[in-house]
């Protein structure tokens, strides 16, 4: 039916999200998704390695985008400032598929197995950020810590933004990172 393959892939994503929302993730079969997309179940698995991955399709692109942003940041910035810049840059990508983001977020929050996958993606993403920081000369453990804390903060900001997109994502990012900095002071014990 479709010629390019990209069309089928896109229809599969659409159909999957719809069905997951209508009936829940566990109660929708891959056969149903394929049927709604007008292809065979086998074709579904040619495009996505498993049932969950449909919801995490952009992740690899996002990761590369962020890593490149970190690499291209100007000299002399502190690690967290570098990350904040990178997040603001690639935030534009997210703004394009906001309508996709909200149901996706709720779905992940409601489905344990999707939360697991989400955590895994977050981990590889943080690892990529840490690697990018390391290549700029940031010391290993500092890079890891900054990447983890930075990603967690980014995640927090995007979640808030998805819930109330009237304010800009950049606003949420600035706010969240400001919080992170003041928290950084408190972490220094022993006080």
């Amino acid at each position: 039916m479709p010629r390019s393959g990209a069309e089928a892939r896109s229809r599969l994503k659409q159909a999957a999200l719809e069905l997951y929302r209508e009936n829940g993730f566990d109660k929708t079969t891959t056969a149903e998704i394929a049927a709604r997309a007008g292809v065979t179940e086998r074709t579904f698995f040619r495009h996505f390695p498993d049932k969950r991955e449909v919801l995490f399709d952009g992740e690899a692109d996002l990761r590369e985008d962020l890593a490149q942003s970190v690499a291209e940041a100007p000299e002399g910035l502190a690690p967290l400032e570098i990350l904040l810049r990178a997040f603001k840059n690639t935030g534009r990508i997210m703004e394009r598929n906001l309508p996709f983001a909200e149901p996706r977020r709720d779905l992940i929050a409601a489905t344990p197995t999707l939360r697991e996958r989400n955590l895994a993606k977050a981990a590889t993403l943080a690892e990529a950020l840490a690697e990018a920081l390391r290549e700029r000369g940031v010391e290993d453990r500092l890079a890891r810590l900054a990447a983890q804390a930075g990603w967690a903060t980014f995640h927090h900001a995007t979640q808030a933004w998805i819930s109330d997109p009237t304010r800009s994502l950049d606003d949420y990012l600035d706010e969240a990172f400001a919080d992170l900095r003041t928290l950084g002071a408190g972490v220094q014990l022993g006080q």
Copy 2:
């Protein structure tokens, strides 16, 4: 065959770990595990909700133990000091099953799906720690940050200890937390 149920459960854990090591996680079936343990496949699933969970059996106990340790810590300590104390306390539990820990660690590192589950466990554990800190009056986001950083540090220490158990776990913990404190200074940008 067994009367108590606890025996079968224990044999299942043993058999699973052995087979996972011998043939890899993906290439061992639940039927094989059950057979080696002298029970039916069905019984395997009566004891464990899925194939992965066999390797994470102690986690709930560990979580409750840690939460209680946090709750019982003396007044006037900084969050990370509370956590360090808690980790040292429940570290005794780990010292009991060191021989179980090393193959388990390698297996998880080598198997993506087990890494996912491991991350999920870490997340719920960190969440439990954060909740325990909150109940002591620690502010919400500080509690979350401390719990995440603290758990990551604990994890790091245990991994190192498993690799070289000649030094005590407490030593590794002291060292790792000292690093975390000095890093805490660096996180405070913007320098």
